[in-house]
Structures are given as structure tokens and as C-alpha cells.
């Protein structure tokens, strides 16, 4: 592909986000904010056993309570089409799949009355012995047919066991990461309204178009029945992703049953069982190398959990497939189905936990070989994907490591552990590499010139706080060769046609293709004298064929993270005074919002390293720390100095805008960099996250 983008006036400028004023003044309306006449409220009645059957629901008592309009349950719910998504197959039978699963929905005229009736509803169960606790040696672990989203479960190249047996240096270690919950600030909420034979959902989703299609199939509606709106979404981190969530299906059922608009909003504790989370992982790494640290063998195996409803296998060891050169390389996954809520996407699914395994093991290898950890990674750089043999569209890991080392002041580091004592603190530094796939997904967009001289661009994109709307505005303005002030980008409406969602760091890379192409086409038509009719002149582009026509290449964003830590000798408290992140992410459309994305990723990585852990009580099948007091997310004082830089990464093999996603790479490798720094500070390896005082205590 030849370079199709040019330097232009809007792209590359730190434009403030276009909806920023609306958000800080409260004018922006989120899914649960919209006022509607006659709105009713649904409240979930959650299962309070982890496994068994519902014997009886005291519906009559609930119906007799003030304000209650109806109760939805297995006996009066509409029959659904099995679309292979068990979390949405609600009220279709009496099985309880996990703690907190909906067994009924109370619909009332106010949320308080719905909640009171729901919390008081008596439910009789026939409980069965549950199996809720994930273990690395669970007897029911098996190899699934594929891992997320549709990737090979196992890859194998060469002779791992032979290579390890012959290797001069071997690292063989196990690493564990806990379940984590995404915990976006905006509640998960859906409002369903029937009007004129169409159903409109206002919901907090990252995937407006895909949701409209899934819900249409689930309910057996005629194509085009469901419209999904998500103009503003207050954070997602994956768990407003695809497939749709239970609250959307429940709102549709309820609005259909009571014949008026219904809103279903989940509380913070309810999001734990109903919206997804990152699976716990158990990983085993075996690295073989020569005495200089050149890898001869990499084996990365992982075990994860899923629910009884859906086989959802986090692609943990995919991180090791393209990362470092090794003639013998094996990756694999196993999954176990338990009586637990269904795990889902969480920022950098696969790469975030997988990088903790490989980048920690690389640090152990550096120690074993006596090679500097940055140098070790440089020695194992590669021009081709070591698993597939495909060339990379660009690979700037070495640039990121070198620039990062320079910015961080890595040179001259004493490699010995536990030598940096400073009063009550042990001090140390650590490094980790990072990558994240640079994917582009077919999408459709429309660009319209209005008689007023303004332009409207429509694409079913979502801005979950990333700045995507602003970036698309800049890209559209440049393609139209007009100032950004005359371009309005409308997003968050499934009626705009097929489009990728905001996930997998694919958003801007995917949407920009049809946006830019449609805008260029429109500009060309206007330049060639085509008239603008009163309703506007529109160009539409569907990128499907163009995306599929690309060369087969390994496309990735790259990064390196450096961490300085201080560990309190008295208490085991770990502080991170400094993090440096350096990234190669293609072309940066907006340095302001890009930096915010990377800062946010690094902060979430820090939070993963030190704080976040969802704690399962296997007797209940419930994550019992299901609130923001007990599930710790980093606060401002946890975050020290964050240094972010990008290296030049022209990559013409991506999309017409040359952009790679950058929403996720900021989290990848940060936990390993911090854990490696804790080892450097204290001499104790941290192979399990989070590194709490109890684990770091000396």
C-alpha cells in the first residue's frame, strides 16, 4: 500500500475534545439520564445461590407492593432465540447459572419502589453443590476450540522440550493474576422505548451497531426494528463491549410487557455478577537461553476460567506469540467452566495478564544470565513474527526500549537486587516491553455537505471517553480540507450502519477509514462542481473490501515501560514514584487525547500491579468485595510522576490514516515493570498480583 495520508492542518494538533464543554457542564446526557414521560423502572432480583434451580417466586406479594406494575420471570417472559449467548438467555428456564444471575425483574413506577419490591421478593431454590473456585490444577480444565476472539488455542514451533533440555540457562516459573472488574464510572443502564413499531434503546455500550443486530436476533424481531443510541458513554474498559448485557435484554422484555418505556440500571454491586470481569489466570513460563541471554525456547501456558453460560477464553499467551525471537516456541491455553459469573473483556484482554507472565520471566532470565534487562530484550528482537513468520508492518520495540531507557535514566543501574536502601524505603527499578495488535475492522460512514457550508459525518462509532469523536473530527476536516469548526461528527447511533465498536484498540483505526474516504470523495465531488441540494450532498463509504484487500502482515503497536518503586521495609507498602512509557502507535491524530489514553492505561497498569483484585468466596459463588471501598482502584496519591512519549512510527500498511489504536497498550507490561522493580528493590520475586503489603512484606 502506498502512503495515502499527508500532513494536514488539523491532525496532529492537541484539539480539546469537542464534547468537553457539554460534559463538564452536565449538558451531556448519558444512558440513564434521559427523562421520558411515563418512564418505568426495572430492578433485577438476583439469585442468592451459585447453582441450582428456582422452585418458586413469590410474585403475588411483589405485585401487591406500592407502585409495582409487573414482575418478569420465567413464566411470563418472551421466548428468546438461542443466539449462543447464555448471559442473554434470561428467564428461559429455572436453572440458576451463578450467584447474582437475574431470576426476575420487578417493574415499578419509581426506582425506589422497584428496588424495595425486588429486595423483598421471596425466592425458593433447590440448591446444588457449587464449584466456584479457580485453581491452576482444576481437574475440569480443557483445551477449548479457540481462544478470544477467534484465535488458535495452541501454537507450536520446533521442539520445546528438546530445546529446554539443551539450553544453557532455563527459567521455569508460575505466575498468577486475579479476577478484576472494570468498574467504569458510568453505571450500566438501558432505557427501552417502543414507538411506531421500532424499539429504541439508550444504553451504555461500546458497540451500538453490533448490539442492535444481536438484540434483533435474540428477540426474533424483523431486521431494522432495534435502534441503539449511545451518544455519550462514561467509561467502559471493555465491559460495555459486545455482546449486549443483561440490562439491555431485560429493558426490552419489560418495555414490551408493560407497554411503556422502561429503564434498567445496575448498581455498583450488581455489575460484579452481571457485566463481566477479567478472568483470574495461572500461567507457566519456561524460557531457555544461551549464556548471553539469546532465547532458544519460549513456552507460555495459561489456565483461565469461564462460566457455565458461555465459553469465553481469555487469550493470555497470545502475548508471547509475536514478542521475542525464539526458534522453539509454544503457547497454549486451558479453560475451566465454573459456577461463576461470565468473564468478559477488560482493557488489553490477553495482553495485560499475559505480559505479566512473559515480561516477568524475561526479568528472571536477565538475572539468571547476568544481562541487563533492557539489553536482554534488544538481543531478542526480531524482524519477523516468530510464530507465524510474517513480516511486521512496523516493529519499533527497540526504539521504545532505547528512548525509554534514556528518558528514565536507566544507564548505570546497579543490577544487584536489594542494594537501594533509602531510610525506611527499599528502592528499585524495572522494565518491561509491550505490544498490542493493530487491527482494523470494516465499517461504514457517511459524509454530508450542507448548503450552509457545514459538514456532517455519521458513523456508528462510540466515544467512551477516549477522544474518538474529536479525532474523527480532525481526520474528517483534513480529508474535506476545511477547518474542524465546520465539521460535526455524529456517532453512537446504530442507524448509521455497520461499524466497529470501541474495543480492541480498533476504533479510530476502523472508523477513520470510511470517514476519511467518504470525506475525500465528497470533497472531490464538490471540487468538480457538484451542487449541494437542500437536504445536503452525501458520500458513503464501506471499507469492507478495502480492509480485506490488505497484505497479510503482522501489525502491532509497540511500547516499553520503566518503573521506579519504593518498598517500605516496615510495612511492605509499595509506592511507584515514577513511570515512563514510550510507545510506537502509528500516526498520532491528537496528542492531547492520545496522551490521556496512555496516562490512563499506565495508571490502570499501576492499579493492576498493586491494588485490584476481585475476591471470590466459593461458598456463595460471589465476588464479595463488590464495591469501590473494598475493591481498590488507584487514587491520585498512588500515582507518581508519569512520563509519556511516542516515537515516530510511520506505518503505511494499516489504513489510510496510518493510525494504530492506543487505548490499551498503556496497561500492557506495566504490572511486570513494577513487579520487576519490586524484585530489584527487595530481592523478592513477585509472581502473583496484586503486590499488596501482605505479599511484599519482608
Amino acid at each position: 500500500m502506498t502512503r495515502t495520508w499527508q500532513a494536514a492542518p488539523s491532525v496532529g494538533h492537541p484539539m480539546a475534545r469537542v464534547e468537553g464543554f457539554d460534559k463538564v457542564t452536565g449538558r451531556a446526557r448519558y444512558a440513564g439520564d434521559v427523562a421520558l414521560p411515563g418512564l418505568a423502572y426495572g430492578w433485577v432480583v438476583p439469585a442468592t445461590i451459585p447453582r441450582g434451580r428456582v422452585l418458586h417466586l413469590d410474585v403475588e406479594a411483589a405485585l401487591a407492593m406500592p407502585g409495582v406494575l409487573a414482575v418478569l420471570h420465567q413464566e411470563n417472559a418472551p421466548r428468546l432465540t438461542d443466539i449462543g449467548e447464555g448471559t442473554l438467555f434470561l428467564f428461559q428456564g429455572d436453572r440458576v447459572p451463578h450467584w447474582g444471575a437475574p431470576v426476575a425483574l420487578v417493574i415499578a413506577d419509581t426506582p425506589e419502589r422497584a428496588r424495595e419490591a425486588a429486595e423483598r421478593m421471596r425466592v425458593d431454590y433447590l440448591p446444588e453443590p457449587p464449584d466456584c473456585v479457580f485453581r491452576a490444577d482444576h481437574p475440569a480444565l480443557y483445551e477449548p476450540r479457540f481462544v478470544n476472539p477467534h484465535n488458535e488455542t495452541v501454537t507450536e514451533k520446533g521442539d520445546i522440550d528438546g530445546a529446554l533440555a539443551a539450553a544453557a540457562v532455563v527459567v521455569d516459573a508460575e505466575y498468577r493474576t486475579p479476577a478484576q472488574h472494570n468498574n467504569a464510572m458510568e453505571p450500566h443502564s438501558t432505557t427501552a422505548v417502543w414507538a411506531d413499531g421500532r424499539l429504541t434503546l439508550r444504553t451504555s455500550t461500546q458497540y451500538a451497531y453490533a448490539w442492535s443486530q444481536s438484540l434483533t436476533r435474540l428477540f426474533g424481531f424483523a431486521p431494522g426494528t432495534v435502534r441503539v443510541l449511545s451518544e455519550h458513554v462514561g467509561g467502559g474498559f471493555g465491559n460495555k463491549g459486545n455482546p449486549p448485557r443483561p440490562d439491555s435484554a431485560l429493558a426490552v422484555m419489560a418495555a414490551t410487557l408493560v407497554g411503556r418505556p422502561v429503564r434498567v440500571t445496575l448498581t455498583r454491586p450488581q455489575l460484579w455478577p452481571l457485566t463481566g470481569y477479567r478472568t483470574p489466570t495461572a500461567q507457566r513460563l519456561r524460557l531457555g537461553a544461551d549464556r548471553d541471554g539469546r532465547l532458544v525456547a519460549v513456552e507460555h501456558l495459561a489456565a483461565v476460567q469461564t462460566s457455565r453460560l458461555v465459553e469465553f477464553t481469555e487469550q493470555v499467551t497470545m502475548y508471547s506469540r509475536p514478542m521475542y525471537a525464539a526458534p522453539h516456541l509454544r503457547t497454549g491455553h486451558q479453560v475451566v467452566a465454573l459456577d461463576v459469573p461470565t468473564p468478559r473483556w477488560m482493557r488489553a484482554p490477553g495482553e495485560a495478564p499475559g505480559s505479566f507472565g512473559l515480561e516477568s520471566a524475561m526479568d528472571e532470565l536477565a538475572e539468571a544470565c547476568g544481562v541487563d534487562p533492557v539489553e536482554l530484550r534488544l538481543r531478542n528482537d526480531t524482524a519477523d513474527d516468530p510464530t507465524t513468520g510474517l513480516p511486521f508492518s512496523s516493529r519499533r520495540l527497540a526504539d521504545c526500549l532505547r528512548v525509554g531507557a534514556d528518558r528514565f535514566g536507566w544507564a548505570g543501574r546497579d543490577p544487584r537486587p536489594a542494594v537501594g536502601r533509602d531510610g525506611r524505603w527499599w528502592r528499585g527499578t524495572g522494565v518491561a516491553g509491550a505490544h498490542y495488535p493493530a487491527r482494523t475492522v470494516p465499517s461504514t460512514a457517511h459524509a454530508t455537505a450542507l448548503p450552509s457550508g457545514e459538514f456532517v459525518v455519521r458513523v456508528a462509532a462510540t466515544d467512551i471517553g477516549t477522544g474518538a469523536r474529536t479525532a474523527l473530527t480532525q481526520l474528517a476536516a483534513d480529508a474535506l480540507e476545511v477547518p474542524a469548526t465546520v465539521v460535526r461528527v455524529l456517532i453512537g447511533d446504530s442507524d448509521f450502519g455497520p461499524a466497529q465498536g470501541a474495543g480492541g484498540s480498533t476504533g479510530t483505526a476502523s472508523w477513520s477509514w470510511p470517514v476519511v474516504t467518504a470525506c475525500r470523495d465528497l470533497a472531490h465531488r464538490l471540487a468538480s462542481g457538484e451542487a449541494v441540494p437542500p437536504h445536503g450532498l452525501t458520500s458513503t463509504f464501506d471499507s469492507t473490501d478495502a480492509v480485506r484487500a490488505r497484505h497479510e502482515l503482522a501489525r502491532y503497536a509497540w511500547g516499553a515501560h520503566f518503573a521506579e518503586v519504593a518498598v517500605d521495609v516496615t510495612t511492605g507498602e509499595v509506592r511507584v514514584p515514577r513511570l515512563t512509557g514510550v510507545y510506537a502507535v502509528g500516526r498520532v491524530v491528537n496528542p492531547l487525547t492520545a496522551r490521556s489514553q496512555l496516562l490512563g492505561g499506565m495508571t490502570m497498569g499501576l492499579s493492576t500491579a498493586l491494588l485490584e483484585e476481585s475476591i471470590m468466596d466459593g461458598r456463595f459463588g460471589d465476588y464479595v468485595n463488590h464495591n469501590l471501598a473494598d475493591y481498590h482502584v488507584a487514587t491520585n496519591p498512588d500515582v507518581g510522576e508519569l512520563d509519556v512519549a511516542v516515537v515516530d512510527d510511520p506505518d503505511d500498511e494499516l489504513n489510510p490514516s496510518g493510525v494504530k489504536g492506543l487505548g490499551e497498550i498503556g496497561i500492557v507490561g506495566v504490572p511486570a515493570a513494577i513487579a520487576n522493580a519490586v524484585w530489584h528493590a527487595t530481592g523478592v520475586r513477585q509472581r502473583e498480583l496484586p503486590i499488596t503489603p501482605a505479599r511484599a512484606a519482608l
Partner: protein
């Protein structure tokens, strides 16, 4: 949420009269704990009696004693010049708790009677002997990494979440309360009941008694005080262990010492065993460590909270050593 009645009390006597004989009534101060518990369905009062209009907002001197009204907000208490000058341990403890927004509304009296944050207590779908006597304690075999190591029972291993009260315990504070029998003042050490087999009964005062204030006696001349809190997150988190200490040293020997421990028991834990071991002992880290070990000999850690024993030991040594070395 269940509907409830709301009344604004016009006097302490009127407030007490409304609540004393009504098990469904609760005093409303800052509401930072009670309102949360109502949202969670853990508290389901019929009547809230708002006491924030009562004249209990002042910090006043009475001879050597400092009186803190029950409605003095955490922020105001921590910032008060006399508190900062005379009782640094108290100011430090208050500022270590909650967040700025919460400290701006939370009250001194409410802080003392706040409930445990044990996750089984705050989740109305789970058994809990404190919330539902006789239903069992899932924490003992379940999630308890931040629960009690001292003074717990087979019925409950909850911890008291306060920072402020730990400092008050080290200061020998007295709690002013009023019930139908009239006002009284009782030592903080006697304000909380041992857990035993009735973890639902937390206080020694009668149901419906109103906390009216706290009295702080003077510290011995030359004594110093400090509070240190350990938490998993750098801010806005409950302690996993904390130490409040008052120490007076002469000629290298301990002349007066008071130590209170937080996040280890159902109430602020006064470390009397350690204190006795230190009287006239050399003010040195080995002596502090031996005293801490003596106190912690009574510790009965659970499966996942044994880390607290060395944590508290190290913390006691560190805080006392800093109080010695800082002069």
C-alpha cells in the same frame, strides 16, 4: 428503599426522647455511614432524628481538658489549633481517614459509633452474626484478610474501621453520652463491648443513647504523640493496621506510654500489655519490639490475615522509635 420518617431535634433531651425507646429510630449526623447502610438495606430505620442542629459543634477548653462536641466535623477537628498543638496524634489520625469530602461532613460522635466494613456485614444477602444474630459468620472461613487478629470470637471477627477512635483510645479520652437517665461521661476504653457471643451489641451504653462529645485530658508534660496508618491504597482506604502512640521519655527511659492499635479488633485496641512492659524500660527498638511481641502473643490470626502480626509489631517499633528519635 423503605420509606421512613424524618425529624429535626430541637434539643438533646427531645432527641433522646424520640430515639431512646424506639428500636427503629436512628440519630442522623453526617450520615456518611448510616445513609450508605440504608442504601444497602443493612439499616432500615423507621425514623431518622437529625441532630445536626443541636449545640454540639464547639471545641472548648475547660481547665486542662479539651471538650470536642459530637457534631464537630472531622475536617474542623483535624484543623483545630489546640488539637494540632496538643494532640498531633488525633489530627494525624483524622486526616488519615476517608476523603476530604467525607471529612467535611462526618462528625466526631458518628465516627465512634460507625459500623464495621466487613463485607459480609454490609451485604444483606449474606449471613452475619452482627447484622442477623445467630445466622453465622462467613468471614471466619471466607474473605477476612483485613479482619481481626485480637479479641475476636467464634461469632465475629469484624474490625472497627475508625482512625479517629484509635487516637482517642491512646489519649485516654472520655465519651459524653446522654440517655433517658441523663448525661454521663465514660472512658472510651469502656465504651465498646467485647465481642463475645453477641457481636450485634457493640456499645456498653443503653440503646438510643446519644453521643454528645468527647473529653480529652491533658498529656503528661513532655509527652509526644503520633499516628501511623498502613493501607493498601495510598489514600481513601481503611487501615490494614494502624498505631496511635503517646510517649514520654526521660534519660533514655520510658516514663509514660500509651499505645492503641487500629484495624486489629472490634474496637480500638489499647495495648496494655505492651505498655506495662515498657514502663521504665529503655526507650530502644529492642525494648519496643519485645513489648509489641508481648502484646501480640494474644493474637489469633485467621488463614489470610497473619501478615498483620508482624505488620503491627513493625509499626509499633517504628512509631515509638520515631517519637524517641524525633526530639
Amino acid at each position: 428503599m423503605r420509606e421512613f420518617a424524618y425529624a429535626r431535634a430541637r434539643s438533646v433531651d427531645a432527641a433522646v426522647a424520640l430515639v431512646a425507646d424506639n428500636p427503629g429510630a436512628r440519630y442522623l449526623g453526617g450520615g456518611t455511614n448510616l445513609v450508605d447502610l440504608m442504601k444497602l438495606g443493612v439499616e432500615r430505620p423507621d425514623l431518622l432524628v437529625d441532630v445536626t442542629g443541636l449545640p454540639m459543634h464547639e471545641v472548648t477548653e475547660d481547665g486542662d481538658t479539651l471538650h470536642v462536641g459530637a457534631l464537630v466535623r472531622n475536617s474542623d477537628l483535624a484543623a483545630h489549633p489546640l488539637v494540632r498543638e496538643r494532640y498531633p496524634v488525633l489530627s494525624q489520625a483524622v486526616l488519615a481517614g476517608a476523603s476530604g469530602q467525607l471529612r467535611n461532613v462526618a462528625t466526631t460522635g458518628g465516627n465512634l459509633v460507625q459500623r464495621t466494613r466487613c463485607g459480609y456485614f454490609t451485604d444483606a444477602t449474606k449471613p452475619c452474626n452482627k447484622r442477623m444474630p445467630g445466622s453465622g459468620c462467613p468471614a471466619i472461613e471466607g474473605e477476612h484478610h483485613n479482619l481481626a487478629i485480637l479479641g475476636a470470637s467464634d461469632h465475629c471477627v469484624a474490625t472497627h474501621p475508625s482512625d479517629l477512635a484509635v487516637a482517642l483510645a491512646a489519649l485516654d479520652a472520655r465519651v459524653g453520652v446522654q440517655d433517658l437517665a441523663g448525661p454521663q461521661e465514660i472512658p472510651l476504653a469502656d465504651f465498646y463491648r467485647p465481642v463475645g457471643d453477641r457481636p450485634d451489641l457493640e456499645l456498653t451504653v443503653r440503646d438510643g443513647a446519644l453521643v454528645t462529645g468527647v473529653a480529652l485530658p491533658p498529656l503528661p508534660a513532655g509527652a509526644r504523640s503520633a499516628y501511623r496508618k498502613v493501607r493498601e491504597r495510598a489514600s481513601y482506604a481503611f487501615a490494614i493496621g494502624s498505631v496511635a502512640a503517646v510517649l514520654k521519655v526521660d534519660d533514655g527511659r520510658v516514663r509514660d506510654v500509651r499505645i492503641a492499635l487500629g484495624a486489629v479488633a472490634s474496637h480500638p485496641w489499647r495495648a496494655r500489655v505492651a505498655e506495662r512492659a515498657l514502663v521504665d524500660a529503655p526507650a530502644t527498638p529492642p525494648a519496643f519490639e519485645a513489648a509489641a511481641e508481648a502484646e501480640l502473643a494474644a493474637a489469633r490470626p485467621l488463614r489470610d490475615n497473619a501478615y498483620k502480626v508482624p505488620l503491627i509489631r513493625n509499626l509499633v517499633v517504628a512509631v515509638l522509635s520515631e517519637l524517641v528519635g524525633d526530639r
